[in-house]
Symmetry: C2
DNA sequence: TTAACATAGTTGCACGTGCAACTAATTTTC
DNA sequence: GAAAATTAGTTGCACGTGCAACTATGTTAA
């Protein structure tokens, strides 16, 4: 119920979960990011990132490389195969977005985004107060 | 990132995931539902339901009871403890909804719901065509 | 009535996630 | 310079999920 992009990709012969897709997206923009930075920009915990990178490494999409200057840090790189799969997946992603937005006006899409931001703000407010 | 209701509940000392909450909600409306019906109305797969009921049974929230007339079927019942926890959780849930909607007009909330329905329609269209 | 089919539920495997505890490396502080 | 604190990442445990294969029970059709 929560994996539509991944499902759609699969129906097109692309074996990527939406999380893996997002990581590829950010690596494609700037390869070799620190694992921690990836966690931040993808809005995920370091634990989640560790395991996401594990599976992506097993699938040969990315590779870890320990930073020489600070050996605590991993830099994550796209493999050639990862780059290739991204190139195949991205156009499919754009199609999905198109199809999901059928029959919805530009204004309504913007309004939904605004409402979502407000809800996010309300969540932040609450979780900050409670901790 | 996806468990706000569950997290909020936890901060109030209520140990329920949002999925468990939803199951309690439907059992509270009508106790002893068939497992399959629960899967349908909660919009989950039979596998997901099996495992959800497993954990809820372990936690003592619900109990399975094999149907005498058709031994393939399980009826799911709230335990007294499950009923009690629901009674505690529901008011908290209402508060959450209130807080999440702060600063958002009634009209905007309705519009978001409409947009979500349209997206759902677009998904259904696509997944029907592709299978 | 028996073989074929359908239905309800479970299980193994894989994926993504959070929390808390942990290791290892680097900084800070005294 | 050594102890304490911080930072990056991993691991065990638990939860929810999908898919495909499976068991068990019921229904249908020849």
């Amino acid at each position: 119920m929560d994996y539509y992009i991944g499902d759609y990709m699969k129906s097109r012969g692309i074996d990527l979960s939406k999380e893996q897709f997002i990581v590829l997206k950010y690596l494609n923009e700037s390869d070799g990011r620190k694992q921690n930075d990836l966690a931040f920009i993808t809005n995920r915990s370091k634990t989640a990132l560790t395991r996401l990178i594990n599976t992506m490494e097993k699938k040969g999409l990315v590779s870890r490389s320990i930073c020489e200057k600070d050996m605590r840090i991993n830099h994550i790189y796209l493999t050639p195969s990862g780059r290739e799969i991204w190139a195949m997946a991205y156009p499919v992603f754009l199609e999905i977005i198109q199809e999901l937005q059928q029959g919805i006006s530009e204004e309504d899409i913007l309004l939904v985004q605004e409402v979502m931001k407000q809800i996010q703000k309300n969540i932040n407010l609450k979780t900050t107060v409670n901790q």
